[in-house]
Amino acid sequence: MKRHQQHACRRSFMGQRWTAGCVILLSVLLSSCAPSHSNRIVVGSKNFTESLMLGELLAQQIEAHTTAKVERRFYLAGTYICQQAILAGRIDIYPEYTGTALTAILKQKVGGDRAEVYQRVKSEYEARLGLTLSPPFGFNDTFALEIRGTDARRLSLKTLSQAAAFAPQWRAGFGYEFMERPDGYAGLAAAYGLHFAAPPRIMDLGLLATALKDHQIDIAAGNATDGLIPALDLFVLEDDRHYFPPYEAVAVIRQQAMREHPEVAQAMSELRGKISDQEMQQLNFALDGQHRDVKDVAHEFLRSKGLVR
């Protein structure tokens, strides 16, 4: 090293100017890399079937109603990732649930009926985060504690309170997010006095239904709109103590994007109340059970509702 420098740098002065030039060039390049885009609308979704379905519905609805180019950025790995992406402006709109927004993002306590929760989330989002909500799509995808239809009929179980008595004999299977979220397992167990013999197994959401059917678990926390509920003869226990907050499906939209593309508001309002619980189950089943292409299913549905041609 020292010998090197004894004969060193014939162009060190040039070298200094080079380095300075590169730094300037880099900085200029970088500032143009900063995330921002104006003539596109980017639709995001989380990484489970229902979110994907809703994302595609949103994308096609927007495509039919605006001239902007719609890009899809689906399969984002969870609520936090979507939230970060929309705050940073990397996506403009994504499907969310009012209950999730209230507890997991705004970190507030649950309480109130559907309308109240919707209002609270909407006003907080608009005031603090630069985001807004579309009108609800119509279904309430709350957590569904599912048991086998056969068990439900055999033990005459209809509500969670009734089922709690059998909990010590059952194995439970839950998804990762349900275990970790404040509005998930912890609160539920407290509200209903649930005590399972062994700690609940954590499984991928997609595998819960089959595990239930195959008697690997006896009770699972799925969603009320699971496509496999009717298909596999699963029974949803009633949340008689109203533990779970409402999870109305809405779209979260960047206010900036709304300003740049006012037609989006119109497109969203047309979706108000268009999807019932049963209809969402069927859509989910089309993907999970029948393995149809999401684009086809979305297009078919929108056409059947007269929203696109």
Partner: protein, 210 residues
């Protein structure tokens, strides 16, 4: 559809994610340079700073990146935005190579040169900017090169916490079990790392003694 076709079809998104990736890597490297070079100079001139500075940078390096992301998540202001967090984490990881190479580069300057300069009446600042740094620039650049290449790799992990970038393709591809998507993220990331390595290596050579 084969891979090339897939990449071409999605080249818009690939470009966009690549730019996001570059943003993360570029800003953090720049920050690491602005903080790391002065720290390196400090440790080289005042040996008392050597242990704490290099030691701290070393400790940071040993923290697994995903764990560091996790630590920083609950921090107010930082944890609110994944890209801020990612940029801070990437900067921290880039510090060690920059600081260490600055230290080595400056210590490697012939002491006779420094003594002659000082004896002739150069101020410390003149000595630093006219003599020491220019003579150390090739070594420092080599440290920056390492920092950039490491950052490109780490930035792919940053997608796990929502910071965007090419890692997003990889994670999405994993979730969807779609190899093409994974490669759509992995290949550009690798290309980025290789080009940075090559480009900066070339610059290093140009600035190095013959």
């Amino acid at each position: 559809m084969n891979l090339v076709h897939f990449l071409w079809q999605n080249h818009d998104q690939i470009m966009e994610l690549t730019l996001e990736h570059l943003w993360l890597v570029g800003i953090s490297t720049l920050l690491a340079v602005f903080v790391g070079i002065p720290l390196g100079v400090m440790s080289a001139h005042w040996p008392v700073w050597n242990k704490p500075v290099l030691g701290t940078a070393n400790i940071i390096q040993t923290i697994p990146s995903l764990a560091l992301f996790g630590f920083l998540l609950p921090v107010p202001w930082l944890g609110d935005r994944a890209d801020r967090l990612a940029i801070l984490a990437l900067t921290l990881y880039a510090l060690l190579p920059v600081i260490r190479n600055t230290y080595t580069g400056i210590r490697g300057v012939d002491p006779a040169v420094v003594e002659a300069g000082r004896g002739m009446g150069l101020t410390d600042g003149q000595l630093l900017f006219q003599v020491e740094l220019p003579l150390a620039v090739s070594v420092i650049l080599s440290g920056i090169r390492v920092a950039v290449v490491v950052s490109v790799g780490l930035a792919t992990i940053a997608a796990a916490i929502g910071a965007g970038g090419l890692g997003e393709f990889i994670f999405r591809g994993l979730a969807m079990v779609n190899n093409q998507l994974i490669l759509a993220g992995a290949i550009p990331a690798a290309v980025l790392a290789l080009s940075a390595d090559f480009g900066l290596g070339w610059l290093e050579k140009r600035l190095r003694p013959r």
